[in-house]
Symmetry: C2
Subunit: 794 residues, 2 copies
């Protein structure tokens, strides 16, 4: 089943009619809008849709009859009909109920057919108030948010109606709806109109228009009908309703024009990150109207729409990079929005030096507790992964320098892995080996040494731990495993002495560098996966060997007092920094990537998924033994780092909510489908309670298939929400390769029949796809088939 | 008049009763709560407050009579009584209406008296729905947000009530309210209770409790009263209401315990920015419950409360550092909250490389347009001032290197000012001269030269442009001006040739460094004010001279092609970077600080006030001639910088709203009070249309007075929202000085009678205070008198 489609066509003006309450006149005003539209745009087709109707059939049907009688010529339809006059979720009780996605699909089909036929209008009337539950129990404001119709909100003209109207507006707004017009019945007693006009026009620029009340209900049915007909006749020709429709028409056109012109404007004014602008053109810039769940709603190129009128302006695009690896709980997630809004309302931002607020403390607790790492006791806040790494480096350099007694001018480097990348600020860049990313940066100065490493790939259905050719003499040749669980079963592998060669090699290399006078201040690695450096899965046993060797080699790095062995959480050798910015917090399926290595960092950096894809925030967790290094009588000895928005409450509150949700999902087993053997196959190995649980939302079937396309594919792997496809590259592997661009293009081309596509990012010859933590099995199945299709047609 | 006080005492459990709609039973449930509390806590005093009551006097009074009759022994009061049965703002029409602040003050007085007498409960009943307007027209949810009472929300049990209850809840939540309990009348027909219980318990952890409906209204008045009495008698003794009260009691205690324990917990788990932890103790950590407008609500030290029972747990603290210079439109500003929530609901975060979304484009337009700098055409987004500066430096180094034909390994420095500071990431740190901030940072490597400068201070009521002693031979001695306008009248000063000496000196120094082989890539300055480096006002004429000399000295910096004079927006000499992170966007009263210098940057960095004190966001604006430097056929030549949350929609949307509001305020003349001559006195000079408009929210009277305390004060200045007090220092000027700590302590001590204080930050011997863009004249007047008091007692 295709993803949810937004409802936007050039030719069809779709508006959703929401009410501030039940019984505010939604049906009457919708009828009036329909009748007037039908009169004014005579050559077009006006339609009316009631997705869910409740009440006894004759009464509910009355609504369609009402339209038929009072707005003849208007195409009308009810999708679901429930007999009881109550909220749809209650009325639907015990009945077969379509899922939210199915209901949205039916609405899309209706609108799509209307759009295909001729230009026109479509008014979709909701049931009850904005948060009245739909058939499945999801409230309508949430249910319909993904289709993002512009809203006509019917205000409440009765006593208390000001409050209800503003609150209804806010509930819509915080789900990303655009309320285009507020309509209200005239009422001289309460005159809510006046207050609301002032309120909405002044602070939101939204026009409030009023309409005369319908005639009071007459006892005599015929008289009632006559009076209503007269009302509709008069009002549908009034300048008031005409102005409203003209305004809505204009807003519809303006929305489309803006969406179409945005790429051109952006091309002129925006300086894009990591982008060579000579290879950019307005056509290549994706205009994003909005996003929901795992999908962007993006503008379909105009050329395609000109050919085929029924093609909508917007299409769902799977956000295959999880928005640069940040997205977790779905775009526009209402709980995260509420968390952000609550903290915004409670604090805005409050300065953090020497102060404390609830979200910062709660987040510190959640992280320290969730890491299950007895070393980590302290949380330092900053703004993004790059600043978080700079903080970590400042911490560890000071610790090492003081322990080994080096003076302040000593040239101290870090130990890292080839291809490791830790961010774009200068200090973080200096932690990466010279590469395309940084070789042209004037102040770049790679400070350290970077080890090559054995990497893990699936090829021809087998798991290979692949040693780079020039290290084979040292590390031994490639090794083959039948499951990824076996690769990650590092305890068993250690008991087979597999790590011995690794450790000997690492020790030898370190001794070599130290003998040349090099000094080191930290081991800094991305545990399990090298991200920006090429989406490489590193042999976890090798990373653990690195940590072990560094920890036990204090004597090698310099002369220092005998380590205090009484405290097992004290750092030894060098501080171990894990950059979990990408790999942590459930990206790979677990709270912490360090658990895959069964070892614990002294300093751990987190960002990206920390706020579930909402706002920038980073934490650098540290051990008490690192913290104490900065204590002295001199304020200049403190860790002098801190951004203005350090520990901003909005970010912290969103992070608390995000982690709470992901931890609850883990506890409830919400990823069990992905762990089941029919889905994961040998990816996690045959069920074996003794083996480590490694799993992925990407099906083994897909991975197996990909790994057998050996003409195209060098290998692939999947873990947690990540799928990485390493393409063969004639132009050399790495960032400069263009080998993955064709596949990226095919996925972006997508399925032109059902009009949706996959937006992905490449890293040289690697194309990766990433789901969120709530991505559904259904969606993954669809995406998997599109990937196969694209590779088959390659 | 003292600032708004939150309502929190250990001994008094204050709850605010809000209704999801009118007519949901607020009064009945409040009466029940009062009666039950009074029964259960017999030795305590239960009170009931109706701040605003509407309806004919007898009917409205009925509410108090109702309490009197059915909850005897409960202390009851109505503060404002309006006869008409409509929304308070309408009922109050034509009457003398207290300001919001006055009404809150009356509520505080009532609660305070209750708290002083004996332990107890206070239930405050609101009128109508959550957004029903109060007497001045402010909706109640906004009006009462600052006092942040925990809320008992009365749900609506009728048809449509689910929607109204959820929306009401959301309106409260996004103003930072904690809804502690949701109460609803039992109703078997609609059973909203069931849905709401599931909804609120599952996703918000808020208990939903139900109460039997009161008896239907009987015709006979006496019978009605008897039935009601029976109802209250029964229900007030039910386990249901007892459980509710026990829960509320427990939440009250838990809130206070948490507020009291937060500093201790933070002391153990948080690693604070820019903080020497040995000089920290839990007692020194300020626990911030919330913040509103310019005030934090902070915990009063327990020792003070133990001495005097009537002292509340929370007190307002003026946020004197504007939360590290970020705050502008008031903490918890509801428009900014709505902007954040809207973008959260519409997008969450969406990745930005090769994509565009509305808020990012709108913000780019707003900034480029607002700067009125024809050079600036491009916007690059990043996360904070420090990253924004790194981006600026990367831009300018590349531009200079390519123009002057230096190879990639050339050691290129920047030209800056002594004490200039641009952020804490390594690249930004390297732009600052060696100092306390960075001398201990292992990788710090100051790259550039830093000019000393003449600074501006008010001393003994006169404005002095003070030349550092060792530059006097070059720059001439101090100069004296009668007004700050005269100092900023740089055109007149240029026509007096005042800048000549500056330019000659600058040229000579530059030649000296170049002759020693130094190469430079940018002029990087904070226009007008050096912020973190000591809150120094720099002679604007000197900064303009720097820019002029650098721009015309291409030949000096290296050999380069003749500059293209056809495009006046092209950079010449070196790219000029203005770091307006602190000084821009109305902090000094104008959209851009560059307007004070009457010169235009090639690259301009903005952050802090950009989002009005909400979330981190930064923009680096650049000229087209800088942008073109990065264009080539090679993707490695691109500006390879970009954080995951680049141009995050929430930040951009908040920034658009924040700038829109500040620009509107400027246009409407909302700072005219601060510009008036009775307020600003000679600060802006005698009214003279020919002189530049410089103004401050700090009154001239205060500045004059301070500047005459020559025993204590070396000088002071005020501009825009900033007041800087430079104390004399026996321990040497600068960051390590402790000279301002005593004044800071006195301000934090504050006014113990009215229980509020001033939270400020010091930079060595400088104490500064900063308002927001909405700070009121009244508040400034109060603060000014507290500052005088503190200095007098010094």
């Amino acid at each position: 089943m295709a993803p949810v489609h937004p409802l936007l066509w050039s030719s069809l003006r779709v508006f959703q009619v929401y009410g501030a309450n039940t019984d505010v006149g939604k049906t009457i005003i919708a009828t009036l809008l329909c009748r007037a539209a039908n009169n004014i745009w005579k050559k077009e087709q006006t339609s009316y849709l009631k997705p869910v109707s409740t009440g006894p059939e004759d009464e509910a049907d009355d609504r369609c009859t009402h339209i038929e009688r009072y707005a003849p010529g208007v195409l009308r339809k009810t999708l679901l009909q429930y007999d009881l006059a109550m909220s749809p979720h209650a009325a639907a009780k015990g009945k077969l109920v379509p899922s939210d996605k199915e209901l949205l699909s039916k609405i899309y089909q209706f609108a799509s057919r209307s759009a295909a036929q001729q230009p026109g209008w479509l008014f979709i009337e909701t049931a009850g108030g904005v948060h009245s539950p739909g058939p499945t129990g999801t409230t309508q404001a949430d249910l319909y948010a993904a289709v993002r119709c512009p809203v006509v909100l019917i205000a409440d003209s009765k006593l208390g109606g000001i409050s209800l109207t503003i609150s209804a507006f806010e509930s819509l707004k915080l789900r990303g709806y655009d309320v285009e017009s507020i309509l209200i019945f005239q009422d001289s007693e309460y005159d809510n109109e006046k207050y609301l006009r002032n309120y909405f026009t002044a602070s939101h620029g939204i026009p409030v228009a009023s309409l005369p009340k319908p005639p009071p209900r007459a006892q005599d049915k015929d008289a009632d009908a006559r009076a209503m007909l007269q009302y509709y006749k008069n009002e549908s020709q009034s300048s008031g309703i005409r102005n409203i429709l003209e305004y809505l028409n204009q807003r519809h056109q303006a929305r489309i024009e803006r969406l179409e012109s945005m790429p051109k404007d952006a091309y002129k004014r925006i300086w894009y990150p990591f982008t060579q602008h000579t290879s950019l053109s307005p056509e290549k810039i994706v205009a994003i109207d909005s996003a929901r769940g795992d999908f962007f709603q993006t503008v379909v190129p105009k050329a395609e729409r000109t050919v085929n009128q029924h093609i909508p302006v917007l299409q769902p695009s799977f956000d295959g990079s999880a928005s640069w690896w940040t997205q977790g709980l779905g775009h526009g997630n209402p709980s995260l929005t509420m968390a952000a809004a609550y903290a915004g309302g409670r604090y805005g931002h409050v300065m953090f030096a020497g102060a404390v607020h609830e979200p910062a403390l709660a987040l510190a607790d959640t992280l320290l507790c969730g890491m299950k790492n007895p070393r980590l006791t302290r949380v330092f806040y900053s703004d993004n992964g790059s600043t978080g790494v700079e903080v970590a480096v400042k911490m560890s350099l000071r610790a090492s320098r003081l322990r080994y007694g080096w003076d302040a001018n000593t040239d101290i480097g870090i130990i890292g892995l080839k291809g490791g990348y830790h961010g774009d600020t200068m200090g973080a860049m200096d932690c990466a080996e010279p590469s395309t990313y940084n070789e042209n940066i004037e102040w770049y100065n790679g400070r350290g040494i970077w080890f090559d490493y054995p990497s893990v790939k699936c090829s021809r259905g087998q798991w290979i731990v692949e040693t780079p050719d020039d290290l084979k003499a040292d590390l031994g040749g490639n090794k083959t495993f039948t499951s990824l669980s076996d690769v990650f079963d590092i305890d068993s592998r250690e008991s087979n002495d597999e790590q011995k060669a690794y450790e000997q090699y690492i020790e030898r290399r370190l001794s070599h560098y130290v003998s040349k006078g090099r000094k080191f201040g930290a081991l800094l690695i991305e545990p399990v996966v090298i991200g920006a450096g090429g989406m490489a899965l590193v042999d976890p046993l090798y990373q653990r060997a690195l940590v072990s060797v560094v920890r036990r080699s204090a004597k090698l790095f310099g002369s220092c007092p005998e380590p205090d062995t009484s405290d097992p959480t004290s750092w030894t050798g060098l501080p171990i920094i894990f950059d979990e910015v990408f790999t942590g917090l459930y990206r790979l399926g677990r709270f912490t990537a360090s658990s895959f290595l069964k070892t614990e960092a002294d300093i751990s950096v987190h960002a990206k998924l920390l706020t579930g894809g909402f706002v920038p925030l980073s934490t650098t967790l540290a051990s008490e033994s690192i913290f104490h290094v900065f204590e002295s009588e001199d304020k200049a000895d403190a860790l002098l780092h801190g951004h203005s928005y350090t520990a901003h409450p909005i970010g912290c509150q969103v992070a608390v909510e995000s982690l709470r949700q992901m931890q609850a999902m883990e506890k409830k087993g919400e990823w069990d489908w992905a762990k089941s053997s029919d889905w994961s196959g040998r990816l996690v190995g045959q069920p074996d309670a003794m083996k480590p649980e490694v799993w992925s939302i990407w099906p083994w079937d897909l991975l197996y298939w990909i790994s057998n396309q050996t003409d195209l594919i060098a290998g692939a792997w999947a873990l947690g929400s990540v799928l990485a496809i390493h393409m063969n590259a004639a132009d050399g592997l790495g960032y400069k390769s263009n080998a993955a661009l064709k596949l990226q293009g095919s996925l972006l081309e997508g399925d032109r029949t059902t009009v949706w596509n996959i937006h992905s990012r490449v890293l040289g010859n690697v194309l990766y796809l990433m789901g969120g933590q709530k991505t559904s099995k259904d969606d993954i199945t669809e995406i998997a088939s599109m990937v196969k299709h694209a590779l088959t047609a390659h």
